[in-house]
Symmetry: C2
Subunit: 197 residues, 2 copies
């Protein structure tokens, strides 16, 4: 019984008929917090057995990550303080889509703004979903090659160091537990698998 | 100038002196939403250049992921509908820490509850942070071997299929873009690197 479901902020349904026994169906939804960054929803759903449950989640515009490859094969990473975890992380450049922006254009913009490069060759590596349980976020992964340094232009309030590291040095840092950002771990290992098998 | 910062819900500070030029410092914090699942915070921070910014994030109790290895080398995964993304995902078993629970005990509990196995050997694979920009969540990764089937006991409102797949079949699914859950991508590739080099 749908009373008033409002607009569904989730991606379009992608459930095969054979998965009907797993699917949760939206009945009602409300926005419980809208901040500068976070858009928080609370939906009432019908479970596969007909029961009712509450699902809370973040509505996210989508993001991109770039693996920038310098002519000598080293990769460009950032060192950035991440406030929620109270520490500095080694990460590939990444950023959110602006309204109406395509992922590739976002990737080109972020590569320029955050680390100061333009690239002549772009390869899509895939997509990952960082938090399937409480966010709609999807991150498109790209490899950028043929880099030209043009100088960066950080957003206001953005502070980060740019570092070039060999793939081996990044893998050694991963093995030592020094790279833990999930998107960076996934992208580094997908890059090694796909582009340097 | 700290007016009233309240209790800091973030992990303890881990910033080297050499990273002071990157660090954001907490000044004030408030809880803006507390739901059944999500605890949403809004903090006022001082930027490295003395400016002020707002940081919004989820406070999370931490989670675990298990790579369960059957005696024939196949891996146990789940197929689960994830409401925020409106589709079914292939994922390794995972779950949140209960209050006061250690990650290994959570992993043993989730392996039993979600997929129905006990394990005789546990190896820690590492830790990942799924969303450094807006959650305190950390996921401890384990490999579970020496499995004995004891039957599962799902939580109320939890619906998922359990499937055994070879590592090669999982890697092929990853290459086809059919595995996109970031924790599962990272764990699968870290497992291949560490345990099946």
């Amino acid at each position: 019984m749908i009373v008033d479901a409002g607009e569904d902020p989730r991606p379009p349904r992608q459930t095969a008929a054979s998965d009907a026994h797993l699917e949760e169906t939206r009945r009602l939804g409300e926005r419980v917090y809208e901040g500068a960054l976070l858009d928080v929803r609370r939906d009432t759903v019908t479970l596969p057995d007909g029961g009712t449950a509450i699902r809370e989640y973040i509505v996210h515009p989508g993001a991109v990550l770039i693996v920038p490859v310098l002519p000598d094969g080293t990769l460009v990473v950032e060192r950035q303080h991440r406030y929620p975890l109270n520490r500095v992380f080694v990460e590939f450049p990444a950023g959110k889509l602006d309204p109406g922006e395509s992922p590739l254009v976002t990737a080109q913009r972020e590569l320029r703004e955050e680390v100061g490069y333009a690239a002549s060759a772009w390869t899509r590596l895939g997509v990952i979903h960082p938090v399937v349980s409480y966010s709609t976020e999807a991150i498109e992964l790209y490899v950028a090659e043929g880099l030209t340094h043009i100088g960066r232009a950080l957003d206001d309030g953005e502070f980060l160091d740019v570092v070039a590291m060999s793939a081996d040095a990044l893998l050694a840092a991963l093995d030592r537990g020094e790279i833990t950002d999930a998107k960076t771990v996934a992208a580094l290992l997908m890059y090694m698998r796909r582009m340097r098998p």
